[in-house]
Symmetry: C2
Subunit: 242 residues, 2 copies
């Protein structure tokens, strides 16, 4: 089975959480909108899926995964679906629920990072909401960031299996997502984020372990992984990084 | 089995999505923090769960559901867990995934409603972020609200089973959550929300069908369902409702 992934080209965005899972598992997938328009890719490919007639269960927004005839949307839901076949989640019900709970908490975390630069939503450009962004970021760096990092550091500490992972002795999809959030945080807030991570050795080790995985390393080296950039979920504005 | 629910007393908050599911199913549950402190309730009960030693899989924040020895957090995850036993989700894997996808989209929707009055996060009082709230709300009412309502109206339209529900011919947990969001929207934005719902007959019918369910009616009449109020997820500020 070749999965098809649909996501806005030019940014990592939420799709990157899905890509990291597919890459780590060595799954075959087509990143449809990355193809040129002439080959059926580009934004048109996404609009075709969003506006298709005859789809009984339509997605609200990308990322969207096509698996055979099934269309699945919402990042954590896609990962819930992929966790089993990609062997990136425990097999027992309790373990799967705990894995999903962590993923939803990671979603909360990266939404709050997005909100630092777009507190008024993406209906306004960053330049139209600078003052609001500064205030939101102040609270994020002082209160929310340490709370999230402290929580995930504790989750790592409470896992008594060997290795750097959050669940048992093997990597699961929230490990990949968490590493991505740490990478995004370091891009967005090299100074404040670096400081906040100093006392979080387990999170730093998790990040390094994920990006040292052979398939993830090859993915990063392939050039297929886009660089972080300021149209994306994680953005670097020096005036916010204090 | 008696479930135990832990959530901040005095507001409906995110726990109300869980309560509506438990009530509709006639499940036995204890709303722990609603009890007086002297009987083991209040905020202390929540803090005891959040700070308990010996919990290997700690929740980040309420709502938290205790089911036997299992602690489950994150609203959509709790509903994913309850959907089967409460018979509020389809039994097949695809149906369960679609149900969860809808719930996650409803979560996006109510987070955007929350963000209208707290765009800078809850680190600041509403009074400290009035101007930002006005701008965020303007974009929400013009762009985001019609987009969400249009999507869910279409989901209802595409369900060719009889009845007012989103999935098949029986109510499932996203129906209950959606009705709650519509109720919250009408409280927060009686004028702009009412206008937006005028052309959404299926969503209005869904709302009415849910609040007409015998067990939900009894729950509302019991006084146990708190009123909407301005410390809650949905808040009414007349200056935002234009």
């Amino acid at each position: 089975m070749t999965y098809e992934l649909f996501y806005w080209p030019g940014i990592q965005g939420r799709a990157e959480f899905v890509r990291l899972a597919l890459e780590e598992a060595g799954a075959r997938y087509l990143d449809v909108a990355v193809l040129p328009e002439a080959q059926g890719g580009g934004v048109s490919a996404i609009l075709r899926v969003l506006e298709a007639r005859g789809v009984r269960r339509p997605p609200f927004a990308p990322p969207i995964l096509r698996a055979g005839r099934q269309l699945i949307a919402q990042t954590p839901n896609i990962l819930l679906f992929l966790g089993g076949p990609l062997k990136l989640a425990p097999r027992d019900d309790r373990g799967r629920l705990w894995t999903h709970q962590l993923e939803l908490t990671i979603l909360d975390f990266y939404l709050e990072i997005f909100n630092t630069h777009h507190p008024l939503g993406d209906g306004y450009a960053y330049e139209e909401q600078r003052a609001a962004a500064r205030r939101r970021t102040r609270d994020f760096l002082a209160v929310r960031l340490p709370k999230f990092l402290g929580y995930f550091e504790r989750v790592l500490e409470l896992n008594d299996s060997r290795g750097p992972w959050m669940i048992g002795a093997r990597p699961s999809y929230p490990d990949l997502s968490m590493a991505q959030v740490i990478a995004g945080l370091k891009y967005a807030f090299p100074s404040a984020g670096g400081r906040a991570l100093r006392r979080r050795p387990r999170l730093r080790a998790l990040h390094d372990a994920v990006f040292d995985r052979p398939r993830i390393s090859r993915y990063v080296a392939s050039g297929r992984r886009l660089d972080f950039n300021n149209d994306d979920l994680f953005r670097h504005y020096p005036e916010l990084d204090r």
